[in-house]
């Protein structure tokens, strides 16, 4: 990577400033740390994807024939754990956020550069523990660790898996803390709160959840480990404990975690939609307020995962109502993105194709959320493939689309190279088609009543499962393509100009790739965010 950068740019930049492995492993440059994260989470994305592929292959036939039941259970468990904790949660904040937040607010680095490096090491240590768990035989608790199954009935590597997530959780907490302090304290002169790009607002809201929510996850996992080792009885009814207590603790974090995974993606989409529509975002204040509202309300809806778990009738009603409240700001966001395109000048560049995909798939994920929040319907569809489809539309259809859109949008800045536009568009469309073919049939399966986490199933579900597996293979091709052409572009891609899209943010006013200190002198911000009316209409590259 470093060598190509030298050939590319006469000027010293963050990639060619230093060489050698130690210059990366001991770096405190937020941009280099972002790349360390990028490598780490890409690795885990493909591990988690491999598990998903095995799951889909097993489900090609109703009989359990490809894998053993225990192996299958480990596959969906570790697919969930790897994807949630080692890919989705760090994806946009730790890679794009790390790279862009200081630049977008006109700072040289995050507030605590060494803590930032520590965060990566924590994720890496957690990741090593996860890999140890996988290699030493795996874990089959389900990613949710429900008690008393996880505490008293399994002899797999529950504690190392819990420890892996526990450690990775601290990475998330420290990143959130770093972002909050940075955004409060290190904005350039003139960069007021109302001029912040929505990407920064989204990561700010995310950071609040990370800091306030993740400790509860750490506590829950710690209690599972202590219960296993010392048989404390906190979750064991025979000793007067309550297995539902675990579910409350777990979802108190893990529902807000859904917003950790989606909010930064919303931020990415706001940047892309404005740039490729050449428009200021429609309703900036409402967009900024909406992410904060989602972050706050997101803490009040956790028990909607437990409508059939044995909570009281009236508690369920309160949590259902609150779940509808959190749907309101999500709806506002979709409407505003759509309105931003109104009377714009829209180019179909690769990042914009991903943004289209995000809005469409997130809308479907959000609207099916109205089904599962409706108590009477949820009783039927919870713990079925309907829920699987619903959250994959948000997490994969939403977040992964946004992440890839962001990677394409900022790749010229990150690498100093252009990716091949044709392949970019092709991959975006393959992913969109593959995704829908994989997950849309699962809505039908769930409504028919196929429970989740089933290794073998009733034959009448087969046709839909075959469709889903076919979609998954297409999706796999779609995900491999960007990795291949991004790697290719590092050597063979055209040199990226400073501002290939005529973007409005501060990141487009510095060289590609940036110098280590980002800015030669501290910028003075005198313009509003997304001032596309003052910028050229052209999108120079990628058309």
């Amino acid at each position: 990577m470093a060598t190509t950068a030298v050939a590319l740019s006469e000027r010293e930049n963050y990639l060619n400033k230093e060489y050698g492995i130690t210059s990366w492993l001991f770096t405190t440059d937020h941009k280099r740390i972002a790349l360390l994260y990028l490598i780490t989470i890409t690795f885990f994305f493909f591990i988690g994807g491999f598990f998903a592929l095995l799951i889909r292959l097993e489900l090609l036939t109703p009989e359990g024939d490809l894998l053993l039941a225990d192996t299958y259970n480990k596959m969906f468990t570790m697919h969930g754990q790897v994807m949630v904790f080692f890919f989705l949660i760090p994806a946009v904040p730790a890679v794009l956020g790390n790279f862009l937040i200081p630049i977008m607010i006109g700072a040289k680095d995050l507030a605590f550069p060494r803590v930032n490096l520590l965060s990566w090491y924590l994720l890496a240590i957690g990741g090593c523990l996860m890999i140890y768990t996988i290699l030493s035989g795996g874990v089959d608790t389900g990613w949710t660790f429900y008690t008393p199954l996880s505490t008293h009935f399994l002899d797999t590597h529950v504690i190392t898996a819990a420890l892996a997530i526990f450690v990775a959780g601290f990475s998330s907490i420290l990143t959130g803390l770093n972002f909050i302090v940075t955004i409060h304290r290190m904005r350039a002169p003139g960069m007021t709160w109302s001029r912040l790009p929505l990407f920064v607002w989204a990561n700010y809201a995310t950071s609040i959840i990370q800091v306030l929510g993740t400790p509860v996850l750490a506590i829950s996992l710690m209690l599972v480990a202590l219960e296993r080792i010392f048989n404390l009885g906190i979750f064991n009814p025979q000793l007067g404990g309550d297995p539902l207590l675990f579910q409350h603790l777990f979802w108190f974090y893990s529902h807000p975690a859904v917003y950790i995974m989606i909010l930064p993606g919303m931020g990415v989409v706001s940047e892309i939609v404005t740039c490729f529509s050449r428009k200021r975002i429609f309703g900036y204040k409402f967009m900024a307020l909406a992410v904060i509202a989602i972050a706050v309300l997101g803490f009040l809806v956790w028990a909607h995962h437990m409508f059939v778990a044995g909570i009281s009738l009236y508690a369920a009603m309160v949590f259902s109502l609150l779940s509808y409240f959190v749907a309101v700001p999500s709806a506002i966001k979709v409407f505003n993105w759509t309105a931003t395109m109104f009377k714009g000048s829209i180019s179909y560049s690769t990042p914009m194709l991903y943004a289209f995909g995000f809005i469409g798939l997130f809308t479907m994920g959000g609207l099916t959320g109205l089904f599962v929040a409706a108590l009477g319907i949820d009783v039927h569809v919870t713990d079925t493939y309907f829920v699987i489809a619903h959250f994959h539309y948000i997490m994969v259809g939403g977040m992964v689309m946004a992440y890839l859109g962001g990677m394409h949008f900022w790749w010229p800045k990150i690498s100093g190279r252009m990716y091949p536009e044709f392949w970019g568009r092709l991959a975006a469309m393959i992913i969109f088609i593959g995704f829908n073919l994989t997950f849309f049939p699962q809505f039908v399966l769930g409504w028919l009543g196929m429970p989740r986490r089933y290794w073998q199933y009733s034959p009448e579900f087969q046709v839909l499962n075959v469709l889903s597996t076919a979609g998954a293979t297409i999706l796999a091709v779609g995900y491999l393509l960007p990795m291949l052409y991004f790697l290719w572009s590092m050597r063979y891609g055209k040199a990226a100009p400073e501002n290939p899209w005529n973007g409005a943010g501060l990141e487009w006013k510095i060289s590609s790739p940036p110098v280590t200190d980002n800015f030669d002198e501290t910028p003075l911000v005198t313009w509003e965010a997304y001032n596309y009316d003052e910028l050229p209409q052209e999108v120079p590259v990628g058309r």
Partner: protein, 333 residues
């Protein structure tokens, strides 16, 4: 569309499945319209305002009126959906009076049912059409979930307490019973059949089984063999409370609270007697945890529920239709 090999709609076989489907169809139409509206807008904008020579974006800041409109209208629609969903849920969670009870013990990886008449079944549940059925469930190990898609009902089954599902079957047939909460290795094998029969057929099925006495009679046997009757005498002289007619009644506790003596309270009082001691009694009862099996707890509960001070003899013909039982029914979650 409704063929067996490629169904798109689940069988509809309970009194609640129609109303649930109605809300589902309403949501499908509503959300379908929303999708069409948003997707159409995006496609129209993307085509109409595509970048081309001579076309320029027109700056628009936003509009508070528009924002409030698309905040308040969805919020109003959401509240309608909430109320509708909550109304269904209230019905799903509130068993009607005079239900027929089936006791269920879930374990890795099996469903065990016992009818009050005494019949036992494994992974099969026979029930009559048109009758309200309460399934009183507990788990011997981990959390399971009782799920009958054709009835549109699902209820987690927890260790250490009872949870209750109820339904009224409306169409004869054999329907899937699934465990819907991941419970370990053979989770996907923890499936069975719910067989809905015409009432006459059901009666003959009941009488065809091996007669071992009713569940309450079994419970009486357990009650006597464990020596419960030494303290729980049928007069006021016992060291423990008289259990006659206690089921469904409010009970004043030593700490001043009042609880309803429902299935969960009776169960807790057998397994964890010191937690809720009846006012006027000493906490001298030993725990029976580990001494009685889940099946025996069910039998004891059924027996205590059958202790009815009305003219009908208590143990011989257990009745589940008494006013006391009905009162407790409405209080079940």
């Amino acid at each position: 569309m409704f063929s067996n090999t490629f169904p798109l709609w689940p069988a509809r076989a309970s009194s609640i499945s129609g109303p649930v489907d109605a809300l589902f169809i309403f949501l499908l139409m509503l959300c379908g319209l929303m999708c069409i509206a948003i997707f159409t807008a995006i496609i129209v904008f993307a085509v109409r305002y595509r970048r081309r020579p001579g076309h320029e974006a027109i700056p628009i800041e936003g509009s508070n009126a528009v924002e409030f409109t698309w905040t308040l209208i969805p919020a109003g629609v959401f509240i309608i959906i909430f109320v509708w969903g909550a109304y269904l849920y209230f019905q799903e969670r509130t068993p009607p009076k005079d239900s027929m009870d089936v006791y269920t013990v879930a374990k890795q990886w099996m469903w065990k049912f016992q009818h009050t008449e005494g019949q036992r079944e494994i992974n099969e549940l026979h029930i009559p059409i048109g009758r309200d059925v309460r399934v009183i469930m507990t788990s011997q190990d981990v959390i399971h979930s009782f799920y009958v898609p054709a009835f549109r009902i699902k209820q987690d089954v927890l260790p250490g307490r009872y949870t209750i599902a109820w339904f009224r079957a409306t169409a004869a047939g054999t329907y899937h019973l699934f465990c819907a909460e991941y419970c370990g290795t053979n989770h996907s094998g923890m499936v069975g059949d719910v067989v809905v029969m015409e009432p006459a057929q059901y009666q003959s099925w009941l009488s065809g089984g091996q007669a071992m006495g009713s569940l309450a009679q079994t419970g009486q046997g357990v009650f006597d063999s464990l020596g419960c009757s030494t303290c729980h005498r049928m007069d006021t002289q016992g060291r423990g409370p008289n259990l006659m007619g206690v089921y469904g009644k409010p009970v004043l506790l030593e700490d001043g609270r009042t609880v309803i003596a429902d299935e969960n309270y009776i169960r807790e009082s057998i397994l964890n007697p010191a937690v809720k001691v009846v006012a006027g009694f000493k906490p001298i009862m030993p725990t029976f945890q580990g001494i009685v099996s889940e099946d025996q707890v069910n039998a004891l509960v059924a027996y205590i529920k059958s202790l009815n001070p009305q003219p009908v003899g208590p143990a011989e013909t257990p009745t589940f239709k008494g006013p006391a039982a009905s009162k407790a029914d409405t209080r079940q979650r």
